[in-house]
């Protein structure tokens, strides 16, 4: 499925522990390549993964305080994506027009969500802890389709891409799918914050089996 981030609302692109304070990672959302990073203050940012200078992936960059420094020529961008320093021209104040394209980025339900739209972010009650993110090789089936592959007691949709589900064996969890265009999809799973090792492990095995069923069904 070709998903354009600008048309689909909020996409859960990672569990909240995928990117630590002071670091940057790469995520794919639909057909968009995105740098996801946290400043030292812990605030998550989602930016187009392309430096306005020469196009270097910003996910290779270095976080300096609450700013991101491009790996290639060291241009520095503040939290709004605006270029604030160019090392090769230390005396120059960079023009305000040098700005990275940014997405809206929020955290809820142990997930990091991004969007291109102004609509409100998914409201998720309670406290959650990250469990697993698993890659699926095949193009993404949608969530209702995926839920047909497993026994569920109840489903409360949180967005197009996520639901709060209750399972006969695992209890309650958040299941999210995140489309990555030609690169398949990710399945993310979060558990209530009270979950301990045994429930995390059990949910991880359940998610692994779900992935196998999705991948096998796509092959035949």
């Amino acid at each position: 499925m070709d998903t354009d981030v600008s048309q689909v609302g909020w996409i859960p692109v990672a569990l909240n522990n995928a990117v630590q304070a002071g670091s940057a990672i790469r995520v794919i959302a639909g057909t968009d390549d995105i740098a996801l990073w946290r400043g030292k203050d812990g605030v998550a940012h989602a930016w187009e993964n392309r430096c306005p200078h020469r196009g270097m992936r910003l996910s290779y960059g270095t976080v300096c305080g609450n700013r991101l420094r491009c790996l290639y020529h060291g241009w520095i961008y503040d939290g709004s994506g605006t270029c604030v320093a160019i090392p090769a021209h230390p005396d120059l104040t960079p023009p305000q027009t040098i700005k990275v394209r940014t997405y809206r980025c929020v955290e809820a339900g142990a997930l990091i969500w991004i969007s291109d739209e102004d609509n409100s972010a998914p409201a998720i009650d309670g406290h959650w802890t990250p469990c697993r993110s698993l890659h699926i090789e095949v193009a993404m089936p949608d969530l209702p389709e995926i839920l047909k592959w497993t026994k569920v007691n109840s489903v409360r949709p949180l967005s197009t891409y996520a639901a709060d589900v209750a399972l006969p064996d695992q209890g309650r969890l958040i299941l999210a799918v995140h489309p990555m265009g030609s690169k398949g999809a990710m399945l993310h799973c979060a558990l209530p914050a009270s979950a301990r090792r045994d429930s995390l492990l059990s949910a991880s095995h359940w998610l692994g089996e779900l992935r196998s069923r999705i991948e096998q069904a796509a092959v035949v």
Binding site: A14, L15, N17, A18, Q20, G22, S23, I25, R26, V27, I28, Y60, T62, L71, R132, S133, H135, M180, K183, G184, M186, R197, L200, L201, S204, G208
Partner: protein
């Protein structure tokens, strides 16, 4: 101590990493792996009949195979005993299991890298698919270790199992193998590069 070494080789890097962590002095004997193919020369085949690097010489002892060299160095020179823990039989076996696994990473992820970087003629799709099968196993294991509060492959402390798996996993993208779908592996790479005494090599992007 003398290490037959090639700067871009992940298997030689395993040895440089442990020598760095243990803070041991050694002599590097560069092998012209590319384009010279010195590792296949008559002279080098007398040193290692398999025509492979790394090889380590320590006095009268000569060892080939990165994993064997790691075991030798850790059991001989690591006074802390932490890099190759020898107390528990099951932990020895666990480390050995990941050492063997790392050689499977060499034959897949490293092969893909040789194809992309040095133009080796091999089945690139098979190499990448093989690497992804192994990375899934590694990802599951590291995520489950985290549930137990463990940051490393074989327990609470980094061991030669981590050293042995690190290079070709961290270099996988050089072979066109995306790592962004393996979050637990990415966290482990970040922890590894933050270890005291860690040294980098070309192609390893170190987080500060």
């Amino acid at each position: 101590m003398k290490l037959y070494d090639y700067v871009l080789s992940g298997n030689c890097y395993k040895i440089r990493l442990l020598l760095g962590f243990l803070d041991l002095d050694y002599e590097k004997r560069p092998v012209d792996f590319f384009p010279g193919r010195e590792h296949k020369s008559d002279a080098f085949l007398k040193i290692n009949p398999l025509g492979q690097i790394p090889v380590l010489e320590d006095g009268e002892i000569r060892i080939r195979d990165a994993q064997a060299i790691l075991i030798y160095l850790a059991s001989r020179y690591d006074k802390s005993g932490e890099w190759f823990p020898g107390q528990s039989h099951s932990q020895i076996a666990e480390v050995a299991q990941w050492l063997a696994f790392s050689d499977m990473i060499t034959s897949t992820a490293s092969a893909a890298r040789l194809h992309d970087m040095l133009g080796y003629n091999l089945d690139i799709d098979a190499a990448r698919a093989g690497a992804h099968r192994l990375l899934r196993v590694l990802e599951d294991h590291l995520a489950h270790q985290e549930f137990d509060g463990h940051d490393w492959l074989a327990g609470r402390r980094p061991t030669i199992a981590d050293i042995s798996c690190f290079p070709y996993v961290a270099l996988a993208e050089d072979g066109g193998i995306d790592l962004f779908c393996y979050p637990a592996i990415l966290r482990w790479i970040r922890r590894f590069t933050a270890l005291d005494g860690f040294h980098s090599m070309p192609g390893i992007n170190v987080s500060p």
